[in-house]
């Protein structure tokens, strides 16, 4: 059987099957999905071939270590079992050279016979500059590196079938038919970031993001606002760059920046290597293996898989797509075999060869067929749903993309409105329940939106990729080798592949996850470590006690006023309430300041007595026993317990015994009479975090090991200052944040007495007669 190598510069015979023999193959993108499979195949079925892999080092992970890690991955499982761990490593060390570095800077060996260029971006909608950098600049640097090394290999350039762009009918295996100049586009794309960055700093844009951040984060303090605004600006830049990419791609007839840049990458390759030996392989949608290295092998989730899983979890009620459009799926082992067969059969110099690797022309799978097989799979093997049995999958009706789009955007609007409404509601168990529902709905919708946008081109394609050249190559394989090296898509039985091979493989991970979560959804709080160098910080109102400033004011005021004056006092309070609420929404500190003015003229000693006699007890009735238990548990573990509150110090006297440190507001007095002013600014939002950091630095507290508990979004900075934040009966904003950050959420107050009862008891003196 003829083989090719440095010594045999023979003209390829398209009607003979060639093998790589003792060639030296350079593989880029070896750590990727296709790269892993190619490397495995080279090691397992091409025993004489030498391989060089180009691997970029990662921080703390040199290329060699990454390569060793690769050998431990599932793709090598079969080989490991056949040869044994040791032997595989020995063979790899003998046959594979790891070249560390980036294409731009490395020196490639001069004796390379074949390059399989598989490195590419995996994302469909990266920012435009990133897409160009990987898919276009990457190609250029490869050829420059090859030229530098003085090598003259046959380059197999892995592209994608979708470079053909948005079109209908049969696409031939040929040079792309467009006149776009890749150099101009590359230049433009790389310059875009600077433009967008500049744009993002325009005052109008900045003001908008600051004002939005203020709306959402004002309660958490100024630093949180600016941090959120800057984060928003960066997100805006990324979004813009993605949009630039997509818009440019679509304006030229490609569905997304990925296919656009891959198309320009082909052009670059043709220009730089077209005079030598160049083959371009264009796989369609690459999915799990049909047979090799083992059926169902896949590395992570590929294009169709998020949809399959989402469908299995019951969150895809519909999807835009034409039921009769062809979903061109091809198992990865077919692509690998085709690529290596191409690699072994170089074209003549100056005439690049093109190969489509897909199933669309020889064994088409319709979108409906895909759906039905996946549906049947989930009907037979539904996903577990924790304690609630199994998930029932929805039935699609393919209403058309317009309908789906309407449904989707309608739901998006509804969810956004619901969330905005909920964020304005007070904290309660019910609000949190609703928030959870909205949160889940939103995640699902975001998901759906993302994929509906991305995949429209792929699920509505009315295009067939002709693969006669690829098939002709397949036909050269002697019958006895077809099993090992073949790539004829007509052997795929879609029912078998989708239901027995692919779906079980991609759902395995999720199933394991669900099982692990199973039973009890609420995991018990881990035991507190016994340490003396950490603190447990508690907010007061809403966290330890269910009452608030207004409530304690009413206790104080009404129990010392004759009943005849109650209605006047209450009416006055009611009149001022909107003002207080506005202040509270604006800034917690403003509210504290505004409200405490009501104490103007009160006698300090009298207030202290009142607290000791009556109000302290009212406060204890509104205490959440779980909070007290938690505080005491921290104390028992040796932690320093700290109370941080904007409430006036006299009111917290009954609880002071629980804390090593109480940080409360102090009211200014003149001759024993309260002036209604505070001695110092109230400790709210970021001031709390700042105080805590300072205190920790002064007293040697390890904040990473410390705990904090609070209920309001304004305490976000405080909670973020410690390693173990806990949201107690959180308000909707904090709840949303805690959910996103996977903070522990506590529901406290099971035995706390009601607001009305305590107020009534206190002012009518049932608790203590006055």
């Amino acid at each position: 059987m003829p083989t090719i190598g440095e010594s045999q510069r023979m003209t390829p015979d398209r009607h003979e099957f060639h093998r790589l023999g003792s060639s030296h193959v350079l593989l880029t993108g070896a750590t990727g999905f296709l790269g892993q499979a190619t490397l495995e195949k080279l090691l397992s079925s091409h025993p004489e071939t030498r391989v060089s892999v180009l691997i970029r080092p990662r921080p703390n992970q040199p290329a060699q270590r990454r390569f060793d890690g690769l050998l431990r991955k599932p793709v090598f499982r079969r080989l490991r079992e056949q040869l044994g761990e040791e032997e595989l490593r020995r063979i790899a060390a003998e046959r594979v050279t790891v070249i560390e570095g980036d294409l731009g800077e490395v020196t490639l060996p001069g004796d390379i016979d074949v390059v399989v260029h598989g490195a590419s971006t995996v994302s469909f909608d990266p920012p435009i500059d990133e897409a160009f950098r990987t898919n276009v600049s990457g190609v250029v640097t490869l050829y420059e590196a090859l030229q530098r090394a003085g090598a003259d290999p046959h380059v197999v350039h892995v592209s994608t079938a979708y470079v053909a762009g948005v079109r209908k009918g049969v696409v031939p295996e040929d040079r792309l038919d467009h006149t776009v100049d890749w150099r101009t586009e590359l230049e433009g794309a790389l310059a875009t970031r600077a433009d967008v960055e500049r744009d993002s700093r325009r005052p109008e844009v900045l003001r908008k993001s600051v004002s939005r951040a203020q709306g959402e984060h004002r309660k958490a303090g100024p630093q949180s606002v600016v941090a959120a605004a800057e984060e928003a600006r960066q997100a805006w830049v990324t979004d813009r760059l993605v949009d630039y990419g997509r818009a440019r791609a679509q304006s030229l007839g490609w569905p997304d920046v990925y296919t656009f840049t891959k198309a320009l990458g082909e052009r670059a390759a043709e220009e730089m290597w077209g005079e030598r030996r160049l083959s371009i392989v264009r796989p369609a949608i690459v999915e799990s293996s049909l047979r090799h290295p083992h059926p169902g092998w896949i590395d992570g989730y590929k294009m169709a898989d998020p949809l399959i899983i989402a469908y299995g979890r019951g969150i895809l009620p519909e999807f835009p797509g034409l039921p009769d459009s062809v979903v061109d799926i091809i198992p990865v082992d077919h692509v690998v075999n085709a690529t290596l067969a191409v690699a072994a059969a170089p074209p003549e110099r100056g005439t690049p060869a093109y190969f489509h690797v897909g199933s669309g022309s020889r064994n088409p799978l319709s979108f409906r067929g895909l759906y039905e097989n996946v549906r049947d799979y989930f009907r037979k093997h539904p996903m577990p749903a924790g304690e609630r049995g199994h998930i029932r999958v929805p039935q699609w009706r393919f209403p058309g993309s317009r309908q789906v789009e309407m449904m989707l955007s309608g739901s998006e609007r509804a969810t956004a409105v619901a969330e905005r409404a909920l964020l304005r509601l007070p904290a309660s168990g019910k609000t949190r329940e609703w928030m959870t529902a909205v949160h889940r709905q939103q995640t699902n919708l975001d998901f759906l939106r993302r994929y509906a946008d991305l995949y429209q081109a792929y699920t509505q394609a009315e295009v067939i990729y002709d693969d006669s050249r690829t098939h002709a190559l397949h036909r050269t394989i002697p019958p006895e080798l077809v099993d090992e090296f073949g790539f004829d898509p007509s052997v795929i039985d879609w029912g078998h592949y989708l239901q027995e091979v692919h779906s079980p493989s991609v759902t395995e991970l999720m199933r394991g996850f669900s099982r692990g979560r199973g039973g009890s959804r609420r995991t018990a709080a881990p035991a507190l470590p016994e340490r003396t160098d950490i603190a447990a910080v508690f907010d007061l109102e809403g966290t330890i006690v269910a009452s608030n400033l207004i409530e304690s004011y009413l206790w104080a005021r009404l129990s010392s006023l004759p009943r005849s004056q109650w209605s006047g006092e209450l009416a006055d309070l009611a009149r001022s309430l909107p003002r207080y609420l506005r202040a509270e929404r604006r800034d917690r500190g403003d509210f504290v300041r505004a409200f405490l003015r009501r104490y103007e003229g009160a006698d300090m000693a009298g207030l202290r007595d009142l607290v000791d006699d009556t109000l302290g007890d009212a406060l204890l009735q509104r205490v959440m026993p779980e909070a007290v238990r938690r505080i005491r548990a921290h104390r028992a573990a040796g932690h320093k317990t700290i109370l941080i509150t904007g409430t006036v110090d006299v009111f917290v006297r009954p609880l002071a015994g629980l804390f090593d440190e109480v940080v409360a507001s102090r009211m200014h007095t003149r001759d024993g009479v309260l002036t209604g002013y505070l001695d110092s600014p109230p400790l709210v939002d970021e001031a709390r975090a700042a105080w805590l950091r300072r205190h920790a630095a002064d007293t040697g507290i390890d904040l990473d090991g410390s705990y904090a508990y609070a209920d309001s979004y304004s305490d976000r900075p405080l909670l973020e200052a410690v390693g173990n934040p806990g949201a107690v009966n959180p308000d909707p904003s904090l709840y949303r944040h805690a959910k996103r950050k996977h903070w522990r959420i506590y529901e406290w107050g099971a035995h706390t007495r009601g607001r009305g009862d305590v107020l009534l008891d206190t002012i009518t003196g049932t608790v203590s007669a006055r």
């Binding site: 000791d612 302290g616 007890d617 204890l620 009735q621 509104r622 205490v623 959440m624 026993p625 007290v628 238990r629 005491r632 009954p654 015994g657 629980l658 099971a750 035995h751 706390t752 007495r753 009601g754 009862d757 003196g765 049932t766 608790v767 203590s768 007669a769 006055r770």
Partner: protein
């Protein structure tokens, strides 16, 4: 003379019988052949209580009349039973008020200036000013509160006096003011046979250091029952302590007993035997039950908690405790004692909404346990009404409710200690000390209105004898989670409960229902 107590045998003609079930009640049809223990009919109350008080003070047993014990310049301390007695609270004026007023008049007449009033609340929560006022009356309250009318503070170590140890090595430590007085006048209500007598001063004014000698698992397991002082190790300990106290300070005891008029006339059916209900009783049963069920939970509790009993006073006796108490016990027995023939396999008790520790408060699961397995189970002389290894069936919803101010240590006991074990001995050895000396609980006991940190343990020990004696405990209508946490089982109906009891007592057990209301002390022969 009212009708004596008796034991009813349930037959075809027996109507459904009334039982308490927390903040509610029901009529339950018991299996044929079941026995039901009724107390004697409510005794007539003394018509002129004030006169009876005066007579008692002037004609005490074993000592001089009170006026002769009072001298100018002396230190007089009047101690009275706290909120835990009687149950439910009595309609005002409280008999304690009537007694205290007369004592104070006599003291004033004799020129006694140094008078202090102390509620004998031991480790119970402090009485609120309103509760004190209700007990001693407006006049006394206004004259003495807050400087000279106080709650006993068992954690105020400067104001405790360690008097020494009994011959059994038991510490006797009581309120210093009382201990250093020239005379203690103790004003008591003996509702059940366990109260009064030596218990009054030695328990009501004591500290944890002293109380732990008798409030422990060992003593309670050897108090069979604690309502039968001669057979109660607990009372033996009280007596020894009382002996030591008597060497230091003179105590003039005034003991009172009440009849069984537990409920106001609107709920008169609660005090009557079911087959004697007239049309009005039946109508009011239906009306009250229906109204009770329709009320919001909070209002329902408020109404039950504000129910005051129109008790009649059946006896007022004063003098030396050792001479007074036997007479008092006689009065209690006259009202509550019913002779029962033999033990049964299953005992049934309907548990009410109130116990000594949830007046104006919430009946939490621990209190339900102590009410059922402590107070009700121990309402016997000689032998329990249920045999060793038998089954007790209680009616109570056992809701998972706690009063955050009154019972903070109970909440922690329930959430953190009972999840570890329900074995009283293990809890006592491993956790009691920690709860008893916890500074936070002590602060709440002293400055707020919390029961002492150790109190939930005492409640658990209260049931230790029953836990040892019984083969199984089932709560009809009980919350599954709370009953399970305490190591008990819950059933929806009596039939289910009896089905569940089958494993322990077979399919045709003998059954005894200790009827309540009103209170009955079973003398099991």
């Amino acid at each position: 003379m009212s009708r004596p107590g008796f034991v009813l045998d349930v037959d075809e003609r027996t109507p459904p019988l009334l039982m308490h079930q927390g903040e509610g009640f029901r009529l339950e049809r018991l299996p044929l052949g079941a026995k039901v223990i009724y107390p004697p009919d409510s005794l007539p109350g003394i018509r002129n209580v004030d006169a009876a008080i005066k007579h008692a003070l002037l004609n005490p047993h074993g000592t001089d009349p009170l006026p002769e014990l009072l001298t100018p310049g002396m230190r007089l301390t009047i101690v009275f039973d706290d909120l835990s007695l009687p149950l439910p609270p009595m309609q005002t004026p409280d008999v304690r008020q009537r007694i205290i007023e007369q004592v104070l008049e006599m003291a004033a007449a004799k020129g006694v200036d140094d008078v202090e009033l102390i509620a004998g609340n031991a480790l119970h929560r402090r009485m609120t000013p309103a509760e004190l006022r209700r007990t001693v009356g407006d006049r006394v309250f206004q004259a003495f509160f807050p400087e000279h009318l106080k709650n006993h503070d068992a954690e105020d170590h400067d104001n405790l006096l360690h008097m020494g140890k009994t011959k059994h090595g038991e510490d006797v430590e009581i309120n210093r003011r009382a201990a250093e007085s020239d005379l203690i006048v103790y004003v008591n209500i003996t509702l059940t046979a366990m109260s009064g007598g030596a218990k009054s001063v030695s328990v009501g004014l004591a500290s944890y250091k002293s109380l732990k000698h008798h409030h422990n698992v060992h003593t309670l397991r050897h108090s069979n029952s604690f309502n039968d002082p001669p057979n109660s190790a607990m009372h033996h300990s009280y007596e020894r302590m009382k002996g030591l106290i008597d060497e230091h300070v003179k105590v003039f005891t005034i003991e009172t007993t009440l009849n069984n008029e537990t409920f106001p006339s609107s709920m008169g059916f609660l005090n009557k035997r079911e087959w004697e209900w007239n049309l009005r009783d039946q109508a009011s049963y239906v009306a009250v039950k229906r109204a009770n069920e329709l009320l919001p939970a909070k209002t329902r509790r408020r109404i039950w908690q504000s129910t005051a009993a129109p008790y009649g006073v059946t006896g007022v006796h004063a003098g030396l405790q050792s001479e007074v108490h036997p007479i008092t016990l006689g009065n209690v027995h006259r009202q509550q004692l019913t002779e029962v023939n033999g033990q049964s396999d299953v005992a049934i008790y309907g548990l009410p909404y109130i116990c000594p520790y949830n007046v104006n408060s919430v009946m939490n699961p621990i209190l339900v346990m102590s009410l059922g397995l402590g107070y009700f189970f121990n309402l016997y002389k000689n032998k329990p009404i249920v045999r060793q290894g038998g089954v007790a069936i209680f009616y109570h919803p056992v809701p998972n409710e706690f009063h955050p101010v009154h019972h903070p240590s109970y909440i922690d006991f329930f959430e953190e200690i009972l999840t570890e074990s329900t074995d009283p001995v293990l809890l006592e050895t491993k956790y009691e000390e920690q709860f008893a000396t916890d500074p936070w609980y002590i602060q709440l006991y002293r400055n707020s209105y919390a029961y002492h940190g150790v109190h939930p343990f005492y409640m658990w020990y209260w049931g230790a004898h029953a836990l040892e004696h019984l083969g199984d405990v089932i709560f009809v209508g009980g919350n599954r989670k709370t009953t399970a946490r305490m190591g008990f089982r819950s059933a929806t109906t009596l039939a289910d409960a009896l089905e569940m009891a089958k494993d322990t007592v077979g399919s045709s057990p003998s059954i005894t229902y200790q009827h309540n209301p009103p209170l009955t002390l079973a003398d099991v022969r």
